[in-house]
């Protein structure tokens, strides 16, 4: 019902083209910002833990930290043969990792830091890894902001990780000393990087009576990989958000003003578009700027929630958009009509929310927590993800069915087109064309997202193009983010009620005959899917 009076229908093809070209330019720009200015989005830094010896076993472990290098470095051993020779016990060996490496420091611009754990375990004929072996890790995390002061403890925990290693060659004496291939284990996740230096101290305590760390094979080394967002990428990203927020905000205000200028109350689709704009703004607002100054660890979780809300809103919008264009004789225009289609979205998002709270929520308290580490947690997490997956499938089935229905109805309308008057036919054709156009744009956006996603997954991250290095991954993030912003922008702009409708809709008769015809057409077609208007429509058709 609202569609007819929208700007998209009353705008000439030329103007529509101009708008399209401008949007396209912005789109190219957003890709270029990521590809040419920003560095790659994240950096992975590999670390190998230094084996320190805790000479006197410290019971008051709290104040005792082992630094792998630099001033006050710990007593080291090169390998465990040395430890055996010196009769050092497992409980006295501390694996120390200093993040970052020498001559570097961390920065708040890194936004987050996650650490992955990998064991180097050598195959030994008589000391193999047991099936389902579990490593118990006693780990502490500390920080300091200059290279001389004492370390301050941030977190301490005793964690368990399931070893999943396989030995690809034959298990013979000949192959002793080769390494198992072990899966990467999630180790730590910190939601902000407020300090300059971090220190990890890891112990693998052995307790034969309790079967702790027995049957875990011959561990040679502990490798960690620290991943953080690149400072340059963060800056470009923030700049983009700071630029996009007012853009979407202004068009939203303009849009809402137009709706309030109308005599009728806003319809569901109009409200939905506005809500979409709101959720986009919610993502856009660059609250992350605060993370540079404040020690807010919940930013990662908050970002997930914002993103989730936007996705849920976008998916709901598509359903309602299709529903309101069905052009059958059903009264919709109410949210409750769509419960069947919206239900899976809400339920799926809720599942993912719970999952995220279980993972990243708990990580606020204990950065070493991982839902995947425990048997029950893994099952629970899988359950949430599977349910969310089912919801997604259900949703897409509904959506595809609705799109199919819309196209069927459109072709139904098409067959009756030749019987109509010329002006009426042209108008119908225009309407259908523009509806299909929007469907195409949506599909194109979705396809672009998928294609770029695949490219960024397959590609090694950057392309060399003459002297320029194009960061494909960054281009993907900024480009796709820009694209959905432009999509929302275009929706707000093109689907805002048009002047022509509410100006002429009052039927003040100083317009020419042509426009009079136009008004009649707009009103009829406007109300194509409303029951009260159907009478008018059928009446009109019978007149013809």
């Amino acid at each position: 019902m609202k569609m007819a009076g929208a700007i998209i229908e009353n705008m000439s093809t030329k103007k529509l083209l101009i708008v399209g070209v401008i949007l396209l330019l912005f789109q190219v720009f957003s890709f270029m910002v990521g590809g040419l200015i920003a560095p790659s989005p994240t950096t992975a830094v590999p670390y190998i833990a230094t084996k320190c010896v805790d000479v006197v076993h410290h019971n008051q472990r709290k104040n005792k930290w082992f630094t792998p290098w630099g001033p006050n470095q710990c007593n080291k051993i090169r390998d465990f043969e040395e430890a055996t020779a010196k009769r050092i016990e497992a409980n006295n060996i501390v694996f120390a990792v200093h993040i970052p490496g020498p001559n570097k420091e961390m920065s708040a611009w890194f936004q987050f830091m996650l650490v992955i754990l990998q064991f180097d375990i050598a195959f030994k004929m008589y000391n193999q890894i047991d099936d389902g072996a579990v490593v118990t890790i006693d780990v502490g995390l500390a920080y300091r902001d200059d290279s001389v002061s004492e370390w301050t403890e941030m977190a301490h925990s005793i964690e368990q990780r399931k070893l999943s290693c396989n030995f690809t060659t034959e298990k013979t004496i000949e192959n002793e000393g080769r390494y198992y291939e072990c899966d990467l284990l999630p180790f730590m996740e910190v939601g902000n990087v407020a300090h300059k230096y971090y220190l990890l101290n890891i112990r693998l305590p052995v307790n034969e009576r309790k079967q702790v760390n027995i049957g875990i094979g011959e561990i040679k080394d502990i490798r960690l990989v620290g991943i953080h967002q690149n400072g340059g990428f963060t800056k470009v990203w923030f700049a983009m958000k700071t630029f996009l927020t007012p853009s979407i905000l202004i068009i939203m205000i303009w849009y809402w003003r137009r709706i309030t200028l109308m005599t009728r109350p806003p319809v569901l689709l109009e409200k939905m578009i506005f809500a979409l704009g709101l959720s986009m703004t919610f993502i856009n607002i660059p609250v992350e700027w605060f993370s540079v100054g404040f020690n807010w660890t919940w930013m990662l979780l908050f970002g997930d929630i914002r993103q989730g809300i936007f996705y849920a809103m976008l998916l709901s919008f598509w359903i309602i958009f299709c529903g309101e264009h069905l052009m059958d004789q059903t009264e919709r225009n109410r949210f409750s009509v769509y419960w069947k289609q919206i239900g899976p979205i809400v339920f799926g998002s809720f599942c993912l929310f719970i999952f995220d709270m279980c993972e990243r929520g708990v990580q606020l308290k204990n950065p070493f927590f991982s839902i995947w580490a425990s048997e029950v947690g893994t099952e629970l997490a899988m359950a949430f993800i599977i349910v969310a997956g089912i919801c997604a499938c259900l949703y897409f089935l509904f959506l595809c069915f609705m799109v199919y229905q819309v196209f069927r109805n459109i072709s139904g309308k098409r067959s009756s087109l030749p019987a109509m008057t010329r002006a009426r036919r042209l108008h119908y054709e225009g309407l259908i064309f523009r509806f299909k156009f929007l469907m195409l744009v949506t599909l194109a956006c979705a396809a672009m997202t998928v294609i770029f996603f695949i490219i960024s997954q397959v590609n090694e991250g950057h392309w060399h193009w003459g002297d320029y290095t194009v960061q494909v991954n960054s281009a993907f993030f900024t480009g796709i983010y820009g694209m959905w912003n432009l999509y929302v922008f275009a929706l707000l702009f093109l689907y805002a009620p048009s002047h022509k409708q509410y100006g002429d809709g009052q039927s003040n008769g100083d317009q020419g005959a042509n426009s009079g015809e136009d008004i009649q057409l707009t009103t009829t077609i406007t109300h194509v899917d409303g029951p009260t208007e159907i009478y008018k429509m059928t009446g009109k058709e019978s007149q013809e």
């Binding site: 992975a44 290098w69 920065s107 693998l204 991943i227 993972e359 997954q457």
Partner: protein, 356 residues
């Protein structure tokens, strides 16, 4: 590491210095000791390693903190060589009490020299990359060649991979002395490069997804070094399929230049990844101080094997002696991950076969 190996393995004093096991001098103590405290002694240290050409000396002074890793690299290269050639007539023997650790074997341009140079060169690249991850070297990855100040570069876009740095160190240091225009230099350069390429070829990509709810929306990948045994296996294959070359002399503006050309045109010419040599190996059956062969006398052989480690082949047809030996062995062991094994002691009887 030919370049480095040459001084290490031929020039007397450096050999023990960089080969570590029992020859303890400078670099060894450096490797175990405190890297930072040695910074002050930098000129003394590099100057005290004899056999370095000026370019290597300069390199040593510039990168003194990674010299322990260079030494470590040569060590793991030799260990791997000994593992790969265990039970063969030439078993990568090193002589601890002699200053030239391999003896004269490497003087000739044989397959064995080719292998040793390649594996040592690979070992250096490997060990330097590893030391970067350990934090014992401060100059890795974030090389100062870029225009931006180093700290800023790291904060803006991270650092480049350490692997390139490892290869760079190996190249700078090892190839420094292989700049003569003769055939041997050309061969060493080629084999050194083959060793380094094997490292970069065997790097593998590991990735982690960490997007929304842990989805693969954001994926970060990094290169990992394989176990050095993998490199050893690969180099051994390359040893078996090494290309024989012939020396060609050209007259160039700087004088006579020797280059290498494949001997057999009907074989595929060697690539960057292949080992090359141009002199035949001695058979290593009899001791020969000139070729550096130790002979296989008194070597333990495997009676049941028909391979090269079998008594027939290893003893070069001279036959073998057999004696029985009682050995006390550890058995029924319970292993803990580190440093502690509780075992019982068993006595077992073995037949030991040694070559005549």
């Amino acid at each position: 590491m030919a370049g480095a190996v040459s001084p290490l393995l031929k020039r007397p004093p450096l050999a023990p210095a960089l080969t570590v096991p029992e020859g303890q001098p400078v670099c060894v103590s450096l490797a175990v000791g405190h890297q930072y405290s040695s910074l002050g002694t930098q000129p003394i240290l590099c100057g005290s390693i004899p056999g370095l050409v000026p370019k290597q000396l300069r390199f040593c002074r510039n990168y003194v903190e990674i010299m322990p890793s260079v030494a470590e690299g040569v060590k793991i290269g030799i260990q791997e060589c000994q593992h790969q050639f265990r039970g063969r007539r030439w078993n990568c023997t090193t002589i601890n009490d002699n200053l030239a650790i391999f003896g004269p074997v490497l003087d000739k341009a044989t397959r064995e020299s080719a292998f040793v140079h390649a594996i040592a060169s690979a070992g250096v690249a490997f060990a330097v990359t590893r030391s970067c991850a350990e934090g014992s070297a401060t100059i890795c990855g974030c090389d100062t060649r870029h225009k931006v100040p180093p700290g800023e570069g790291w904060k803006w876009g991270g650092c480049s991979e350490d692997v390139e740095f490892g290869s760079m160190v190996s190249r700078e240091f090892a190839d420094a002395r292989e700049n003569r225009p003769d055939a041997r230099s050309a061969m060493n350069r080629h084999n050194n490069e083959a060793g380094r390429v094997s490292i970069t070829d065997h790097m593998y990509l590991k990735c982690k997804c960490h997007g929304l709810s842990g989805s693969c929306e954001v994926k970060t990948c990094w290169w990992s070094q394989p176990d050095f045994r993998v490199i050893g296996d690969y180099m051994k294959d390359k040893y078996d399929s090494a290309s024989e070359m012939v020396v060609e002399k050209h007259r160039e503006s700087r004088g006579w230049v020797e280059t290498l050309r494949p001997k057999y045109t009907f074989f595929k010419p060697p690539t960057d990844r292949d080992l090359v040599y141009y002199e035949n190996s001695p058979n290593f059956c009899e001791p020969n101080p000139e070729t550096g062969s130790f002979g296989t006398r008194d070597r333990v052989c495997n009676l049941t094997s028909h391979g090269i480690d079998g008594c027939d082949l290893l003893c070069c047809g001279r036959g073998h002696n057999t004696r029985t030996e009682k050995r006390k062995e550890k058995c029924h062991c319970i292993f803990h991950w580190c440093c502690y094994v509780s075992c019982q002691e068993c006595v077992r009887v073995y037949d030991v076969h040694t070559c005549k």
